[in-house]
Amino acid sequence: MHKYYHRVQNIAGNVLTIRAEGVRYGELAEVHSRRGTSLAQVIRLKGDEVSLQVFSGSRGVATDAQIRFLGHPMQVPFTDALLGRVFTGGAEPRDNGPALTDNLIAIGGPSVNPARRIIPRRMVRTGIPMIDLFNTLVESQKLPIFARAGEPYNPLLARIALQSEVDVIVLGGMGLKHDDYLFFRDTLDASGALARTVMFVHTAADPVVECLLVPDVSLAVAEQFALAGKRVLVLLTDMTNFADAMKEIAITMEQIPSNRGYPGDLYSQLASRYEKAVDFEGAGSLTILAVTTMPGDDVTHPVPDNTGYITEGQFYLRDGRIEPFGSLSRLKQLVNGKTRDDHRTIMNAMIQLYAAYRETQEKQSMGFRMNEWDGKLLKYGVRFEREMMDLSVNIPLESALDLGWAIFADCFDPIETGIHSKLIDAYWPKVAPAAN
C-alpha cells in the first residue's frame, strides 16, 4: 500500500527533498540507502515538494535512496517493559534487549488544559539543605540546573534521583558523553533504582537529529506513567545540546536566526517540552530536572536565558555548590509554609545575611578595616558555607532549620538578624554558646 519514492531532489544538511503526493505534515518516512535504513520526518510541504529531516543524518544518502511514507508521526512503545531498559533517541534498543512494539503512542502530544491543572502541593525531599531549606523542589515543578561545562551536574542529578521518593525515573541524555551514560547506569544500578528507570540516550557520537527526539520521547513516556498514577521524575541532560541541534536544523532550513544563530522559536520549542511537567489530579505527576550548560558561563546566552523564562526557577551550580544567589525555586512558597513556621523566616534571614557577608568579604579583600559587624558576618559566612552549602551535607529539613538557629545564635544578637520579634521569642536558642 505504501509506495516507494526514489527521486531525491536535494540534500542539504540532514534535510532531503523529494517530489511526492498525499503526504501528511509531520508524518514519518523510512529512507533506505546504501548506508542502511533511517527514519525521517516531514517538516515542510510545498506543492509536491516534500522536505524530510533524516534522523540518522544524510551522510551517505544518495539521490537514488528509496523513501517510503509510513502514514503516522513518530511513536514510542509504552509498557512496563520499558523499565530497566536503555534506548536511543529514536526509541531503538541501546542495550541488548528486545525491540518493543506494543502499545505505540505518539510523541509531542497536546498540552494539558490549564483548567485541569492543580496547584502543586507536595515537597520533594532531597536531603540537600540548599534545596530543601532554601529552594524547595516541588512535585510537578520544572527546574533547570545552570552550570558551566565541567561542573558535577550529572552526579547532582543522580543524587537527587536516588534520594527523592519517586516511582519512575526517566532519563533523557542529549549529547551525553559515553562515560556519563555509564555513570548514570551504574549509579542507578548500584542503588537498585535501575529497575524503575527508563533511559533514552543520545551520545555525542550519535546522529544529531536523534538528539532532537530525546525530550519528546522521554516526556511522552513519562506522561503515560504519570497518567497511570506514577510519580515520575524526568532528568534531561544537557538541554543546551538539544537547543544546538535545533539551531543546526534551522540553519539548514535557511530560517532567519534571531539571536546568536538560534531560531526565533527557541522559546516556544523549549516551553512546549518543559510545560509537560504536571500534577494530574487523581493520577500521578511529572517533575522535570534539566541540566542546561551555559556556554562561556554566561546566563544571558540564549539557551539559559530562554530556559529561565520558562522554568519555575533554576539552580546555579558553581564550584561544586548550589549558589544561594540566583538559585530559586519559584514554587517553594506553595510548600514551605506548611513545613515549619520558622522555615520561611530562616530562609530569608540566612540569605540576606549571607549577602551581607559577601559584601564584607569583598571589602576585606580590598584591604578595608573590618569593624565589629564585619567580624560577625565573616564568622557567619564561613559557617554557612561549610554547614549549609557544601553538597556533602545530607540532613533532613528540620535539622537544617535547627542548625540555622544555632548558627545565628553563635554569630549574632537576635536584633541583628532582622527576624520578627515573635519568632525570636519562640526559636532563639535560650542558652547561646558564648560568643568568641
Binding site: 488544559n113 483548567a115 485541569r116 534571531s258 539571536n259 544571558t300 530559586l328 536584633i415
Partner: protein, 578 residues
C-alpha cells in the same frame, strides 16, 4: 455561505499554510482547514495573487497538500454579552473549563465551543421605549451580572442613529432571545439580542471623547502608588529579566487594585501561574465588595505550550472584552503577561512569510503594532456622560534581561509609566524589585509629590554614597554621608520593599500610604547625631525592625498607634537640635 471563498492547501510550513483560493478573500479573514472531520481555525495573514497565507491556531500535523479550506467572510471576533465575567478562556475565547469537561486532561485540536453560555437566563430590564433614537453603544436595557449592572448596548457596528421599534418588557431571557428591534434611516430592520460579535483587531470607538488619565489607580503596592503611580486609563510596562518578579507583581495587582474589572491575559507564559489565579480567586473575598475576586475577573489564557499563533489573538481578545466593559462606565484593568511572547509569535510568523527582518529578526512593523495595542487603553466619556477606562499593564521579557532590545524600547516609547525590574534587587530579595532610580511615571502619586521628590533625592544620594563606600570603605566615609546611606537603606527596607505574602503588608491602601510615608519622609529629613558609625548602624537596625513590625500590623489596632509612637520616640532620641 455560497459567496464565501474556498481553497486548497498548496503548502505547509510550521503553523503556516498556503492556500490557493477561488472567490474573494480579505486580510485577517478566518478560514477553516479541513482534515477529515476536523476543522482547524486559521487567519489570513497575507494574500499574493490567488494564494493566501494563513496562520493556523492549532497544530498543523497531518494536513496535506490538497486539503480543503473554507473561508468564512468574517474577521477573527469575540463574543460579547453577559456571562463573560468569571470565565477562563483560551486566546480564541474557548472556555477552558467546558473544554475540559468535554475532552479531559488535554486540549484537543479542532474543538471550538461557544464563548458565552446560551442557556443562562438573565433578568432583563428595558431602559428605552419604542420610538427612542439610539446610537451604537447606547443602552437598551440592563441585566444584573454578579455585582454589576451589565448594560445591553446597541451593537457597536451600527452606523449612525436608529429608532427603537420594539423593546422586550422586563423578562428572563437568554442571550439568543431578541431584546429589541430597531430601524435605521433607510428603513432596514434589525433584531437585537444580548449577544454581539466584534472583530478583535479593531478598537471599539462608541464613546463621546477620550480624556487624559488623571485619577490614580491605586494598586496598594507602595513603591508603585507613591513613587511610580499608574493612572486609571493609563498604560505602564514591567520589563525585567526572568525571575525578577513581573508575574508576582501582576498577580498582586490583579488582587488588590482598586478597579471594577480585571482582565488577565496570560500570553505565552507558564500554565502553572494561571492555575494559581484560577484556583485561588474563587476563594478570595474582595473586602470592598464582599464578593469573590473571580466575580470581577476574566482570564484569557494562552500559555506557552498552547498554539503560538493564538498568543497574538489572546491580547486582542482581552482588549476587546476590556473595551466592552468600559462601555458600561466601568474601570477595567488589563494585565498582559508577557507582551514579549506575543512579539515573538509575530516574529515567528514574519519569518515564515520570509519578510525582511528588523533588529533581532523582529518584523519592521513591531513598533507600530505595540503602539496600537497600548492605544487601546484610555479614559473615555461615554455618550451618556459617564466615564469608563481601560488601564493596560504589560510585562516585557527582554532577551538576556537587557532593556536595550526592540520590544522594551518600542514599549517605552508609548507607555505612561515604566516599572523596570532589576536583577540586583531581585537577587537581594528586595521585592518588589522595581528599580527606584531607573523607573519613572508620568502620572500623579497618591502622596504629596514634593515628599516623593525628597525621598528620591535621598535614594539617589544614598546610592552614590554606597557606590563610593565600595571604593573608599566605611572609614573613608563621613558620618553624615554614612547616615544618608543608612537612611536610604531604611526607606528601601520599610517602604519600597513589601511582603507580598504577608496578610497585612501585602496591600497598603492609599490612606495608610499617606500616613506612613509622611512619617518616613519626616525621618529622612531629620538630621541626626550619632557617636559613631556602629551606633548609627545599630539605631537604624532597630528602627527598621520596628517599622517592619509596624507594616505588619493592621491599621485599626491599638498596636498600630503604639508602634507609631515608638518610632517617633526613637527618632526624637537621636534628633540633633541645631
Amino acid at each position: 455561505m455560497a459567496d464565501h471563498a474556498t481553497g486548497k492547501i498548496v503548502g505547509v510550513n510550521g503553523n503556516m499554510i498556503t492556500v490557493a483560493f477561488e472567490g474573494s478573500v480579505s486580510q485577517n479573514e478566518v478560514g477553516y482547514a479541513r482534515h477529515g472531520d476536523m476543522r482547524l481555525i486559521a487567519e489570513v495573514v497575507r494574500i499574493r495573487d490567488r494564494n493566501a497565507d494563513l496562520q493556523v491556531f492549532d497544530s498543523t500535523r497531518d494536513l496535506m497538500v490538497g486539503s480543503p479550506v473554507e473561508f468564512t467572510g468574517e474577521l477573527l471576533s469575540s463574543e460579547l454579552g453577559p456571562g463573560l465575567l468569571t470565565q477562563i478562556y483560551d486566546g480564541l475565547q474557548n472556555p477552558l473549563p467546558r473544554l475540559a469537561e468535554q475532552c479531559g486532561f488535554f486540549l484537543e485540536r479542532g474543538v471550538y465551543l461557544t464563548a458565552i453560555p446560551r442557556d443562562t437566563r438573565w433578568a432583563f430590564t428595558p431602559r428605552v421605549k419604542a420610538g427612542d433614537k439610539l446610537k451604537a453603544g447606547e443602552t437598551i436595557g440592563t441585566v444584573p451580572e454578579g455585582m454589576f449592572e451589565h448594560r445591553i448596548m446597541l451593537p457597536f457596528d451600527v452606523d449612525g442613529s436608529v429608532q427603537v421599534e420594539w423593546v422586550s418588557p422586563a423578562a428572563s431571557l437568554t442571550v439568543m432571545d431578541p431584546v429589541a428591534r430597531v430601524t435605521d434611516p433607510t428603513g432596514a430592520k434589525r433584531e437585537i439580542t444580548m449577544l454581539q460579535r466584534w472583530p478583535v483587531k479593531i478598537p471599539i470607538q462608541a464613546f463621546a471623547e477620550r480624556l487624559r488619565p488623571a485619577d490614580p489607580l491605586v494598586t496598594k503596592i507602595r513603591i508603585v502608588d507613591t513613587f511610580f503611580p499608574v493612572a486609571r486609563g493609563g498604560t505602564y510596562c514591567i520589563p525585567g529579566p526572568f525571575g525578577a518578579g513581573k508575574t508576582v507583581l501582576q498577580q498582586i495587582t490583579s488582587r488588590y487594585a482598586d478597579v471594577d474589572i480585571v482582565i488577565i491575559a496570560a500570553c505565552g507564559e507558564r500554565a502553572g501561574e494561571v492555575v494559581e489565579t484560577l484556583r485561588e480567586f474563587p476563594e478570595l473575598i474582595d473586602p470592598k465588595t464582599g464578593r469573590s475576586l473571580m466575580d470581577r475577573t476574566v482570564i484569557i489564557c494562552n500559555t506557552s505550550s498552547m498554539p503560538v499563533a493564538a498568543r497574538e489573538a489572546s491580547v486582542y481578545t482581552a482588549a476587546t472584552i476590556a473595551a466592552y466593559y468600559r462601555q458600561m462606565g466601568l474601570h477595567v484593568l488589563l494585565l498582559a503577561d508577557s507582551t514579549s511572547r506575543w512579539a515573538q509569535a509575530l516574529r515567528e510568523m514574519s519569518g515564515r512569510l520570509e519578510e525582511i527582518p528588523g533588529e533581532e529578526a523582529f518584523p519592521a512593523y513591531l513598533e507600530s503594532v505595540i503602539a496600537a495595542f497600548y492605544e487601546r487603553g484610555g479614559l473615555v466619556r461615554l455618550h451618556d456622560g459617564s466615564f469608563g477606562s481601560i488601564t493596560i499593564g504589560g510585562t516585557v521579557s527582554p532577551a538576556g534581561g537587557n532593556f536595550d532590545e526592540p520590544v522594551t524600547q518600542s514599549t517605552l516609547k508609548v507607555v505612561g509609566a515604566f516599572h523596570g525590574l532589576s536583577r540586583a534587587r531581585s537577587d537581594a530579595r528586595r521585592y518588589p524589585a522595581i528599580d527606584p532610580l531607573d523607573s519613572w511615571s508620568k502620572y500623579a502619586p497618591v502622596v504629596p509629590a514634593e515628599l516623593v521628590e525628597t525621598a528620591r533625592e535621598l535614594l539617589r544620594k544614598g546610592s552614590d554614597v554606597g557606590q563610593m563606600m565600595k571604593v573608599v570603605g566605611e572609614e573613608g566615609t563621613s558620618i553624615d554621608d554614612f547616615t544618608t546611606y543608612l537612611k536610604s537603606e531604611y526607606i528601601d527596607s520599610v517602604y519600597l520593599q513589601q511582603d507580598a505574602y504577608h496578610e497585612v503588608d501585602c496591600a497598603t491602601p492609599a490612606e495608610r500610604q499617606r500616613e506612613v510615608f509622611t512619617l518616613i519622609a519626616g525621618i529622612l529629613q531629620q538630621s541626626m547625631t550619632f557617636t559613631d558609625k556602629t551606633a548609627a548602624r545599630r539605631f537604624f537596625h532597630q528602627l527598621t525592625q520596628t517599622t517592619r513590625d509596624w507594616n505588619r500590623t493592621a491599621a485599626d489596632t491599638p498596636e498600630f498607634k503604639e508602634l507609631q509612637k515608638k518610632i517617633e520616640q526613637m527618632v526624637a532620641e537621636v534628633a540633633s537640635h541645631a
